[in-house]
Amino acid sequence: MYVEIKNLSKTFGNFTALDDISVSIEKGTLVGLLGPSGSGKTTILRSIAGLETPDSGDIFIDGKRINDTPAGKRGIGFVFQNYALFRYMTVYDNIAFGLKVQKRDKKYINERVRELISLIGLDGLSGRYPHQLSGGQKQRVAFARALAPNPHLLLLDEPFAAIDAKVRKELRTWLRETISKVGITSIFVTHDQEEAIEVSDRIVLTNQGKIEQVGSPLELYRKPATPFAAKFIGEGTTITGYFQLKGFSQEQGYESALIRPEFTQVFKQGKSLYPHMTNCGVVQSSFFRGNSQELHIDVQGIRIIADYSLEEEAFQIGEPVDVIVSRLFLLGDDQVLAVENQNLKNVNTVVI
């Protein structure tokens, strides 16, 4: 393990930012620290960087305990949320700053800065000041500045938060590609699940100062370990009385269930092929979602949200429909049980 955090705790006054956290990160991966605000993700990042001193616990990088190493000597590159570019320095001087501090010779600095400026695609803009750059360009400069001194580890604090939606998508892809090109172990903080899923190799999901789950984006989506993880990743509605749905029975210790739009299929009344697992419902409202239609359906008092293709014949509000639910995440106190529709299983065996 390249970065190893052991039993890290940190409080700010009465607020517990980190509560005995342990996590390890492999070399060469791009890890997303995902969680709602106040969940401790930024505190983890700042503790690794040395900008925050943990109350207890150890941080190891490449096998060395770095708790007592000052921030400037940890060999870490840091990209700040609002860039934190030196506003009284040009793009060139911003990127060269770290190298000048290391007292590298001028020729090397010049070469390295030129190389980075072309890596971030800002050739010809080296003499500009930060205020003369767009948000995306500033972010790229901040990235290059962090990379300049050849850090072993790159930390990014909400790298896309201050950028408008359209550029953000483009920059995400760019960052992902550039990081894999440079091949540096990177950790970034985000509260946006879509961003985390799209960019990271692995996600560390935090909540209230604790780690809920660590895994690949797909693992978190498919096998959420905790009710929080199930609710935070992907879309879904929480329902009670899930056992009234056909094909599901009550499980001990699981009071409610999470149902995702992708778990449900909606048919015009009487068009369902499997009557023995079809629930009757009524369309309550529908929303146009750009590439699909979102239906809110009342199934015997259970409110279900489903996506419906725009290619099919549209539903009217108040229209009775057939609903098949294929899977559910049953939510316990702190565990999640994924269950398939039992009747669906039977169907499969029959077909085979």
């Binding site: 840091f78 506003r87 770290g98 290391q102």
Partner: protein, 277 residues
Amino acid sequence: MKRQIKANITKILLISTCVIFVGVMLVVPLASVIVYSLREGWQVLAKTVMDQYTIKALQLTLYAAAIAVVFNTVFGLFSSWAITKFRFKGKNFLSTLIDIPFAISPVIAGLIFILIFGRIGWAYDFFNSHDIKVVFAVPGIVLATIFVTFPFVSRELIPLMHAQGTDEEEAAALMGAKGLSVYRRVTLPHIKWGLLYGVILCTARALGEFGAVSVVSGKLRGKTNTLPLHVEQLFQEFHLTASFAAASILVVIAIIILILKNIVEYKGKKEDELHVR
């Protein structure tokens, strides 16, 4: 149309009120100081200005102001750095304490020093045994000036540095830059115009200080008399023209400082427009 006329009337009213007020309250009195000092001709003015006591008083005023400005600049840099860039207990309290000289009457400030260093003061014996005279001597005047002008530089810098936040410093520190180098290369460029502005304000205040200095000075002509005190003394002795002549020196200094202040403000603003957007 109507609305525009209304807005115009408001504008004209506001501007003329301001101009009249400033004119009556500030410009006319200041101009009359100069006019009055010239009442008996240039010779009298020149004579008073060149008078050895006046020159001594001017020297002492400049001397005390210079020390106060240097001291308060250094203190202002340190305190604003500490208050804005670090977290510690009692920070708000400290920042309130710095404001005391703003809130307190200068006379009280002067009395404080009498109470400490005067014949009845607890520090008197110590300094007396070392043959150092504080009260009714130059050190007392310097101390009083420092006290009164204490918050000027830090008050100017604290909001500026607050607005800047700590991100840039943290970024520099993460790349291995040491504290002083971070301050010089990242913090100082940001605050330099504000700093200059604070220094100018502090200088103006230090040169004009009357209340506190008047208590501790003892007003010995040619020894512990500052220029503002000298003006008052001449006035009390009914040397009206001479008094106004001495005062005109202060007025001229004030005008020079105002011009400097405006230049600094203008330059600072121009640079801000360039960098902070």
